[in-house]
């Protein structure tokens, strides 16, 4: 394993254990047809379960995602987000996450970091997190989402709450309770949500 590879994988503290699907998706983004399978995979890499090959596969996938970053951000900013409804940006992330969830999560973390001051991007990224299932990596986003729960922007705050409404852990409930919400509606929604999550956790334990 090269040092470069291990550094990148280590940064997000993610341990990849999935195999890139054999029927990889093709999609369009800003006029470019992405054929991830052709671009990223090779039989040797796909079939191998060695740590080096898995890391190489992740690195390659992440690299491909970075190459599409500009197109994705443009798509993101032109997508309309409405509760319960999917859109092209959500579908795009859902597709790439099905290809390699760990690399996608790593890339999403880097987007949160890069665009942390751009509320329009952050609000939309949070909306995506609240929608797309990331069964192996969702916990890695809790700290990030918690930070945005304290944001002054109401739409960012609402989107962060929606992510925690999906995650429903005790950390999420505690974070919601510790947050000061200025809007009466948001305050009421947050209080009910925190209580709801805690009751659900108690019921599940019993």
């Amino acid at each position: 394993m090269s040092n470069h590879t291990s550094t990148i994988i280590g940064t997000a503290q993610l341990v990849e254990n999935t195999i890139f699907p054999r029927s990889a998706h093709s999609f369009n983004l800003s006029g470019t047809t992405l054929q991830f399978r052709q671009n990223i995979s090779s039989d040797k890499l796909n079939n191998s379960t060695s740590t080096d090959d898995i890391n190489a596969r992740n690195l390659k996938f992440t690299h491909e995602l970075h190459k599409r970053e500009k197109g994705f951000i443009s798509l993101l900013l032109h997508s309309y987000f409405e509760d319960g409804l999917s859109n092209e940006a959500i579908d795009w992330i859902d597709n790439v996450a099905k290809g390699n969830e760990y690399a996608t999560a790593l890339w999403l973390h880097s987007l949160f970091s890069q665009y942390q001051k751009d509320k329009q991007v952050i609000y939309r990224l949070l909306r995506i997190l609240a929608f797309v299932k990331l069964p192996n990596t969702w916990r890695t986003f809790i700290v990030t989402v918690r930070g945005f729960l304290n944001d002054r922007d109401v739409e960012v705050q609402e989107a962060a709450l929606m992510v925690f409404e999906e995650y429903r852990t005790i950390e999420c409930a505690n974070a919601i309770e510790e947050t000061v919400f200025t809007s009466p509606w948001m305050k009421m929604y947050a209080e009910e949500l925190a209580l709801d999550i805690k009751q659900e956790l108690i019921t599940n334990v019993c």
């Binding site: 509760d83 319960g84 409804l85 929608f131 739409e155 989107a159 409404e165 999906e166 929604y189 709801d196």
Partner: protein, 182 residues
């Protein structure tokens, strides 16, 4: 009274208007996207009032199951008199949902008619005032799941008619086993 669902209440809140870089900012332009008209009509559902909980529940479930995933639903209750004050009329048009079997629920669907530019603005202002006075309602995801389960058990829903994404969500969230066509 009429139920009108909102895409997302956050953008209707006064605090979100601060993002408009104007000293005289009044109402966010983004909210208009929640009031998409078709043939100059806007879809609403009629209920007796806030206390007409059973009707509201059925309407919310019908609206929610027309989406791609189980998620919170936000709505406001608009008083008919406020519409009459700005000369907005209504017409009957039964809801087109195939998921809701109960025709009485579908018959509650109406259209606000002849919506022009000014009336859309007045309506947006009125809804923003309702949200500002904390009169907007939110049905949390957990409540919605209970509502869906209740109506499903009562035989009022045909969940085979929801879209593929919603089927996945229902299977995942409610433990149903709806067949998903590839």
């Amino acid at each position: 009274m009429f139920v009108r669902n909102l895409g997302s209440k956050g953008k209707w809140m006064k605090a979100s208007f601060d993002k408009i870089n104007r000293s005289d900012a009044f109402l966010s332009g983004d909210v208009i996207s929640d009031l998409r008209t078709r043939d100059n009509k806007l879809s609403v559902w009629e209920v007796e009032g806030e206390e007409d909980k059973e009707s509201i529940k059925s309407i919310i479930v019908t609206l929610a199951l027309g989406r791609d995933r189980i998620n919170k639903v936000e709505y406001v209750l608009i008083d008919e008199q406020n519409l009459l004050d700005i000369a907005i009329g209504t017409e009957n048009e039964p809801g087109g949902s195939e998921v809701m079997i109960d025709q009485d629920v579908l018959n509650k669907h109406k259209n606000l008619t002849d919506i022009d530019y000014w009336r859309l603005g007045f309506l947006a202002q009125h809804i923003a005032e309702l949200v500002d006075k904390n009169k907007g309602q939110t049905i949390k995801k957990s409540e919605l799941k209970l509502f869906i389960r209740e109506l499903y058990d009562q035989g009022k829903l045909d969940l085979t008619k929801v879209n593929k994404k919603m089927k996945e969500s229902l299977n995942d969230e409610l433990g149903l086993q709806l067949v998903i066509e590839e």
